[in-house]
């Protein structure tokens, strides 16, 4: 850049471009104000809040059963885990012990949700970088998971399947067989993902060495999930504070070394294998038991403060409840993974080309309602 300037005596001037709010690769209503010098990024300023629904304020008026369904609408691709976070917080506060059956069902559902989310991310990432086929492949496999969800709980995306004390319905009789069929199917399809994108030379050119994040930056910016693990920072809540049935299954926490876009991509691909591994361990041993522990119709939490973290497909979701003893929380805060992950973008993108920004955003895996809440 500097060399070109000297040679031609041309003066460049910084200018600003709006990316979004309706740009397809922002995956929702996110506006980035980009400062550009030629095609080099000098500034990235995210403007958020276009779909801010003030969920935290709404929680202050709702009771704990109603709050569960609001969380579906934050990170809609991890809806089951969001529900689980609130339910676990309420159960811990009331010291309710849920049955082993519920724990295993929740874990299987969480991992299926994670797979569905990663499949969508993979398809959309391919599309962002110009490979439309990936989108069709990703959605083909995701459809099978959504069908399994639909059979058991009637909904495909915002499931609202968890209730404080357990799950809403018992498993459909076909559930085990269909999950096993899916695992066999997807194990044969996942190598295709590698063939189609991971080993593609154009794809590698666009991701390897792009948007590198150091370990120190990841920790300081509070980044979690596969985005952090792509830089080798161990932060998996499933390992750190095991909840539901994660203490009885064996799986690896995927840690990559390089911290570039390709590492983050690879971390998610390998995480899908781990999710399949977790499901395989549990699907044949779903214990018998109640699907709901007895709870009062109107739940009142004792006075105090409760924090519960779960690992969603994007990172650590924290639920912070301040209770004054009533039927609604006095204050409720959601620590959403997307919010912290988004704001590293400026640090990540400064000095790189505008076309690389799309690859960086894809590997952060943003869901905008999760950021805006």
């Amino acid at each position: 850049m500097e060399a070109v300037k000297e040679k031609s005596d041309l003066k460049t001037q910084e200018y600003f471009v709006n990316m979004g709010p309706q740009h397809p690769s922002t995956h929702g209503v996110l506006r980035l104000v980009l400062g550009l010098d030629g095609e080099i990024i000098t500034k990235v300023e995210p403007h958020i809040g276009y779909i801010h629904r003030s969920i935290e304020k709404m929680c202050e008026h709702d009771n704990y059963r109603q709050i569960v369904h609001l969380t579906d609408r934050m990170d809609y691709l991890s809806s089951h885990m969001n529900n689980e976070a609130v339910c676990l917080a309420v159960e811990n506060a009331l010291e309710i012990e849920v049955s082993d059956r519920v724990k295993v069902i929740r874990t299987i559902f969480s991992e299926l949700t994670r797979l569905a989310s990663h499949q969508l991310w993979w398809g959309v990432m391919g599309m962002d970088l110009g490979a439309l086929t990936a989108f069709l492949y990703g959605f083909r496999d995701r459809e099978m998971i959504n069908d399994i969800f639909e059979e058991t709980c009637g909904a495909r995306l915002t499931m609202n399947y968890n209730v404080p004390g357990g799950v809403m319905f018992d498993l459909h009789p076909n559930f085990q067989q269909r999950v096993k069929d899916f695992v066999i199917h997807f194990k044969s399809k996942l190598p295709e993902y590698d063939l189609l994108l991971s080993d593609n030379v154009i794809f590698r050119e666009r991701t390897v060495g792009v948007g590198t994040l150091s370990k120190e930056d990841v920790i300081s910016y509070g980044i979690t999930g596969p985005t952090a693990r792509g830089s080798g920072v161990s932060c998996d809540i499933r390992k750190l504070h095991p909840y539901s049935a994660y203490d009885r299954v064996e799986f690896k926490e995927i840690l990559m070394e390089d911290g570039d876009s390709f590492s983050r991509y690879k971390a998610r691909i390998l995480e899908m294998w781990e999710s399949l591994h977790i499901i395989e361990q549990l699907i044949d041993n779903i214990p018998e038991g109640d699907i709901q522990a007895p709870t009062k119709a109107l739940i009142k939490l004792p006075k105090g403060e409760f924090f519960q973290s779960v690992e969603t497909a994007r990172g650590e979701l924290g639920v912070y409840i301040v209770s004054e003893g009533g039927k609604s929380p006095y204050r409720m805060k959601f620590r959403s993974p997307g919010f912290s992950n988004l704001f590293v973008l400026e640090h990540m993108a400064k000095g790189s080309k505008i076309a690389d920004l799309v690859a960086m955003m894809s590997t952060i895996d943003l869901v905008v309602p999760d950021i805006d809440r």
Partner: protein
């Protein structure tokens, strides 16, 4: 480090710290606004505590005061604690920014400024983040009245 050791360490640095353990799964250390910055820096830098990861920053509005709540974790030692700052002046709450200690605080503090009206000294870019720039009032405060957007029942 367990709660007792943490308590001892923090009391050594800041003797006036108030500790609360009841009703929370973490050790809660409550300080006043002028003490925050120095204590936060020590918690981050000291080898024994090394709270390098801030996983939540928020505020709670009580009738008489405001409480800033920082959830801290050490990724090396795997321990966690809550640092709180009690702000008595509800009308004009001011506290030091922590964004030079944990970068994530910059945007979380903007959110708290937006929704609670807490001002942060030395913050590089203190603007509203979720709401419109011309929004009146701070919605997550308990005394916020908005007859159009919030239906009370």
């Amino acid at each position: 480090m367990d709660s007792e050791a943490l308590k001892k360490q923090i009391a050594g640095w800041e003797p006036t710290t108030e500790f609360v353990e009841e009703g929370s799964q973490y050790l809660n250390a409550i300080v006043s606004p002028p003490q925050l910055k120095a204590l936060a820096l020590k918690l981050r830098e000291d080898e024994a505590t090394h709270f390098n990861f801030m996983f939540s920053l928020t505020c709670v509005d009580y009738p008489e005061h405001m409480m800033m709540v920082y959830h801290l974790r050490s990724l090396n030692h795997k321990h966690e604690m809550v640092l709180k700052v009690k702000i008595d002046d509800r009308e004009n709450p001011v506290v030091d920014t922590l964004c030079d200690i944990w970068r994530t605080a910059e945007y979380l503090e903007r959110e708290v400024y937006d929704l609670f009206g807490v001002k942060f000294n030395n913050h590089p870019d203190l603007r509203r983040i979720l709401l419109d720039d011309d929004w009146k009032g701070y919605p997550l405060r308990k005394d916020y009245v908005d007859p159009i957007n919030i239906v009370s029942y």
